[in-house]
Every structure is written in structure tokens, then in C-alpha cells.
Symmetry: C2
Subunit: 73 residues, 2 copies
Amino acid sequence: MSLARMGNELRCQCISTHSKFIHPRTIQDVTLTQSGPHCQNVEVIATLKDGTEVCLDPTASWVKIIIKAILDK
Amino acid sequence: MSLARMGNELRCQCISTHSKFIHPRTIQDVTLTQSGPHCQNVEVIATLKDGTEVCLDPTASWVKIIIKAILDK
């Protein structure tokens, strides 16, 4: 269990966000973290199938589309 | 880093899903995991602010609404 998933992480996880489209097929999972005392931003972190973690921009329309695609699968 | 987040977990994480509405205010983060060889279901796991992990039904409309609410915040 990672500290981040336990809600114990005390800072933002994302320094920058990936700007290019990532195909949902390459994504293993996506974690949405609410803003709060630890970080003023909503953070969206995708784990790709190769294990890479990528921060995505929660306000980007393609990010919303990917999340919808995963839910609707 | 949890094994689940590294994409190394070899089975479904959710045995059942929580059927009652959970207010987004009580949620710390939400992880959407794609279906794949490890599990035939899309899995949605919410971590609440008290550290509890709860499986949600990805097809439930209130779950989609909560996810949208987090993204639009």
C-alpha cells in the first residue's frame, strides 16, 4: 500500500502534466486525487501498462474522455 | 508504491461493490483500473479520507457523477 493511496502524502504528486494524448489501451489505471490540505490541485495520475506513472491535466477534455472510456468499457 | 498501482496485481481487487451513495467530500482519491488478463472487470476503488478503501460499481450513475465532480472541481 502506497502512502499516497492511504491519503497520508503531504504534498502535491504532480509537478507538471503530460500534454499529449495517451491511448486508453496503454493505460493500466488512473487515480484521481481530490484537492485538500496536502495539495490545492486535483491530481490525475495514470499508470501505464509498462509501469510508468504520468500526471494528466484534469481540465483537459481528452483526459475526461479517457476516464469516461474506461468507465464505459 | 503498492503492487496494484504497479500493474502487477494478478487478480481482481473487488469482491463486491458498495451500493450506497458516498459523498465526494469524504473521498480522498479514486482509482479506475482497466479490465485485462488479471481481471475481466473495470474496477473503481475509492479511498475515503479515513483511509477505508471501498469498491464502487463503474456502471452506477452516481459513481460516474462523483468522478465527474472530482474532475470538475
